[in-house]
Amino acid sequence: MTNLLNRFFDSQRKYFEPGAKLERLNALFEAFETVFLATGETTSSGPHVRDSLDVKRFMVLVIVSLMPAFFFGLYNTGYQSNIVSGLSPDFMSAMTRGLRIVMPLVIVSYTVGFFWELLFAAIRRHNISEGFFVTALLFPMTLPPTIPLWQAAIGISFGVIFGKEVFGGTGRNFLNPALTGRAFLFFAYPVKMTGDAVWTAVASSKETAVDAITAATPLSLASATERFSSIQDTLSGSGYSFMKLFVGNYPGSIGGTSALFSLIGAVFLLILGIISYRILIGGIIGVLATGILLNIVATEASTPWFSLNPSYHLVMGGIAFALAFMATEPVSAPDMNKSKWFYGFAIGALTVLIRVFNPAFPEGAMLAVLFMNLFAPLLDHIEVKIRLGKRIPNV
C-alpha cells in the first residue's frame, strides 16, 4: 500500500514541480500527498532528531475534539426541526434530518473556503495550512441551521480572506477566522442571524403543520423576562432545566448549544496539552465572577439578568463553545501565560456584560472573543515588557 501510493505520488510529482505546467498548484499536490504519506524529509542541521508532533496532527486532534459537539449538533438540529415540523423525534430520524440540514453547510464551508485557501496558496506560493480545516468546521457549527447556503459561502469567504489570508495566512492572523466570518454575516444579514425564527429549521414538506411555532432560545427568553420575575423561573417554565441547558438540547446554533460536549472536547484537548488551560479556566472564572458581582449589586429595580444564578451564564448560548474552541485558538490568543489568564477572564466577563447590558445582542460570546483578539497583542506586549525588564541585559 505504502509503495503503491509512493509510486503514484512520485509519478505525478513532475507535473507540479517548478517549471512544470501545474507548478502553481504545488500546494494542492503537497496537501493531498501528505495526507496519505508523511514526509520523508530528514534534518539538515542540528538538532538531528525532531519531535514527532507536527501541525497536521495538532489540527487533526482539534477536529477530533470537535466531533462530540458536532455529532450532538447534528442530532439536536434534526431533533428541534422534527419537533417543530411535527415529525418523529426519535434518534435515527433526527440524525438524518440533522445531516440533511447541516452537511450542505459543512460542504459549502469546506469547498468555498478551500478554494480561497488554494487560490492564496497558489499566488503566494505557500503551503496549505491544516489550520484551515479547523476553521471550515468551526464556522458552520456557529451558524443558525436556517442560514441560506449562499450566505454561508460569503461568510466563510470573508473569514478566510479577511480573517486570515490578507495578513499572510494561518499563523499570522490576529482574529479568529471562523468568528470573523460569523461576525460578517451577523452584521451584514442580521435577519438571518438573529431573532427566534432562525434557530430551528422547519421542514417545508406538505404534511407538516403550516403554523409551526418555533421555540425561543434560552437567551431570548431570558432577555424577555419581565421585571420582578426570575429568569430561572421563566426558563424552567418553558421546559429549560439547568440539566437540559447543560446538555444543550435546545434551539440554537448548530454546534454551539451544548456545554457538555464542548466540555468533553475541551478536556480532551487539555489532556493532550493542545489548548491552554489558562484561557479556559480564566474564562469560566470571568463568567462566574461577573455573574456574582452582578448578583451583589442587584436591586429590586434592576433587570432580572442581574440576579441570575451565574452558573446559568455558562450553559446558555454559545459561551461554552466559544471558550472551548474559539478563545483557545492559539494564534489569535496571547502568547504569554499571564496574558492568557487575563484574556480568558475578559472574554468571560465581556460575554456576561454584553448579555446583561446590551439588549441588541442577546449573545455576546462572539463579540467578546473578537474584541479580546484585538487586545491580545497589547497584552503580550505589556507582559513581555515587564518580563524583559527583569532580565539582566546582555548586549
Binding site: T42, V49, L53, V55, K56, F58, D335, R391
Partner: protein, 448 residues
C-alpha cells in the same frame, strides 16, 4: 556548594546510550585538524603537503590574533590538505609515524604555578596550542588572550544524550584535574565555577571540595551558558569564559609535562553504533577508526558532538578539536502511511499528543523531520523548554524582521544554542539556527 534548580529543559529518552565501559583503541594511521569546524577563526596555514611535523608543531594560526596557534596532534607527514567551497580549509591530514616525537614546551609544577605571572601563563598556553580550548560567552568564540575573564565556568555535566560521563575521564586523574583548576583560578583571579549534575555527583571521585555548584534539571541544565544565566548578578559577567572538563585535563597535562597532549576519551553511541561505549583515542582521530568500521546496511548518519548541537560528518572524515562524541543514527526518510493520525506508542514527543507519553521506555528515533514546515501556530512549546527564559517564538520573529535591537532585548545573546526550541517545534521551524545565525552576524558586525 550552591544548588541550582533548572526547571525548563527536556530529557530525550532515546535508545543507543553507550555503556560506561572504556576501551583503549590502537593508534590510528592518520590524524587530522579540521579548521573549518572551529567557529570564527580565519586560519593561515603554516605547513604544506609533504612537510614533516612533530607532535606540537604549528599547523596553522588564526589571522585575527596570531597568538592563537593550532598544533599538530601527532608526529608524521602532512599527506593531504583538503579544501572545500570558497577555499575553506576542511582538513589537514597527518600520516602518523611509528615513533612519536614531541616539540618541547615550558613546564611548571604546583609551586611554580603559584608564583608565575598571569601573562606568562597565557603565553605558555597559547604557545602550547591549547588556549583555543578556553572560549568566551556569549558567542562561544575563542577567549581573548588580552583580557581577564569575570569568571571561568567548568561544567562536569553530560546531560545531552550520549556524552562521556565525567567519572570516566576523572578516574585516576583527580590530581591533574585539581592542577588544571588551579591554572584556571590563576587565569580568572580565583573566579571559577565548577558545576556538577546532582545525579552524577555521587559517582564522581572525591572532588567535593572543588565543586561549587550542584545542578538539578534536564538537558541543557549543565550547559555553561545556562549556569551563567542562572548565577549571574550583573551584566559584567556576560563575557564569562568556559571550558570543557576534559579539556581542563589537557591544559593541565601540557603545563605539567611540557608536551602537547593528544589523548581524548570519546563516547560512541546511537542506535546504529556497532560498538557503543567509550573509547580512548587521540585528538583528530578518523571517525571510522573511532566507530570501529561500522558496515551498516541501513542508511545511517554520523554526528560529531551531541545529538542536539552536533554536526553531521562524513564517515571518512575526522573528529574535530572540540568534539568528544560520535553518534550513529538511522537516517530515516521512510514515508509513513497516514503518519499524522497514528496512536504513536513508540513516537517520541515533548507534547502529550502521542500515546508514547505513557510509555516510559527509551525509544528509537531517526533523523526524519516528522512533518512539513508551516507557519508558527503559537503553541508555546519553545518557550516552555527554553532554559534561559527566552521566548523563542517571538524572538525568532523579530530576528527575521531584522529587529536586532528588539531580539537583543529579548535575550538573544543569552541563547545557549541548545536546539530544544527547534526540536519541539510542531511547525518544524529552524528556530535555533535562525537565532544562532543572528548571534553570529551580530558578533561579526560588532568585532569587524
Amino acid at each position: 556548594m550552591i544548588s541550582l534548580n533548572v526547571k525548563k529543559g527536556y530529557r530525550l529518552k532515546i535508545t543507543g546510550e553507550p555503556p560506561k565501559e572504556l576501551v583503549e583503541l590502537p593508534k590510528p594511521s592518520h590524524v587530522a585538524l579540521l579548521p573549518e569546524k572551529i567557529p570564527f577563526i580565519k586560519p593561515r596555514l603554516k605547513v604544506r603537503v609533504g612537510d614533516h611535523v612533530e607532535t606540537g608543531s604549528e599547523i596553522f594560526e588564526d589571522k585575527r590574533n596570531t597568538r592563537l596557534k593550532f598544533l599538530s596532534p601527532g608526529s608524521g607527514q602532512i599527506t593531504e590538505i583538503n579544501f572545500g567551497p570558497r577555499r575553506v580549509i576542511k582538513e589537514v591530514v597527518i600520516k602518523l609515524d611509528n615513533k612519536e616525537s614531541y616539540v618541547p614546551f615550558e613546564h611548571i609544577n604546583k609551586d611554580g604555578l603559584q608564583n608565575i605571572d598571569r601573562n606568562d601563563l597565557v603565553k605558555m598556553l597559547s604557545k602550547g596550542g591549547l588556549w583555543p580550548l578556553l572560549r568566551a560567552l556569549p558567542y562561544q568564540d575563542i577567549a581573548p588572550t588580552d583580557k581577564v575573564p569575570p569568571q571561568i565556568i567548568v561544567s562536569l555535566g553530560s546531560s545531552e544524550p550520549f556524552q562521556v560521563s565525567p567519572e570516566i575521564y576523572l578516574d585516576g586523574n583527580t590530581d591533574l584535574f585539581a592542577f588544571g583548576i588551579s591554572v584556571l583560578e590563576k587565569l580568572s583571579n580565583n573566579n571559577v565555577i565548577i558545576a556538577a549534575n546532582a545525579e552524577d555527583k555521587s559517582r564522581l571521585p572525591d572532588q567535593s571540595g572543588r565543586i561549587t555548584h550542584i545542578i538539578k534539571g534536564d538537558y541543557p541544565a549543565d550547559n555553561p551558558g545556562v549556569i551563567l544565566y542562572k548565577t549571574k548578578t550583573s551584566a559584567a559577567q556576560n563575557n564569562s569564559w568556559f571550558i570543557n572538563t576534559q579539556d581542563v585535563l589537557l591544559i593541565a597535562g601540557l603545563l605539567k609535562e611540557g608536551a602537547y597532549p593528544t589523548g581524548r576519551i570519546v563516547a560512541v553511541g546511537g542506535e546504529l553504533a556497532p560498538h557503543p561505549g567509550y573509547v580512548k583515542t587521540r585528538i583528530g582521530a578518523p571517525v571510522s577508526h573511532i566507530t570501529q568500521n561500522e558496515n551498516n546496511k541501513i542508511k545511517s548518519r554520523c554526528v560529531a558532538g551531541g545529538i542536539m548541537t552536533g554536526y553531521s560528518i562524513d564517515k571518512k572524515s575526522f573528529l574535530g578539536f572540540y568534539e568528544t562524541s560520535v553518534l550513529i543514527l538511522p537516517e530515516g526518510g521512510k514515508r509513513e502511511l497516514f503518519g499524522f493520525i497514528q496512536p504513536g506508542f513508540n513516537k517520541q514527543s515533548y507534547s502529550r499528543t502521542f500515546l508514547s507519553s505513557i510509555n516510559r521506555s527509551h525509544l528509537n528515533m531517526n533523523c526524519n523531520m516528522n512533518g512539513e514546515e508551516r507557519a508558527c501556530v503559537a503553541c508555546g512549546s519553545c518557550a516552555e523548554v527554553c532554559p534561559v527564559d527566552i521566548i523563542p517564538s517571538l524572538t525568532f520573529k523579530c530576528t527575521l524582521a531584522d529587529e536586532i535591537e528588539e531580539s537583543l532585548s529579548h535575550g538573544l545573546l543569552d541563547c545557549v544554542e541548545c536546539g530544544l526550541c527547534t526540536y519541539v517545534c510542531p511547525s518544524k521551524i529552524e528556530i535555533c539556527t535562525i537565532l544562532q545565525n543572528a548571534k553570529r552576524s551580530y558578533y561579526k558586525e560588532m568585532s569587524g
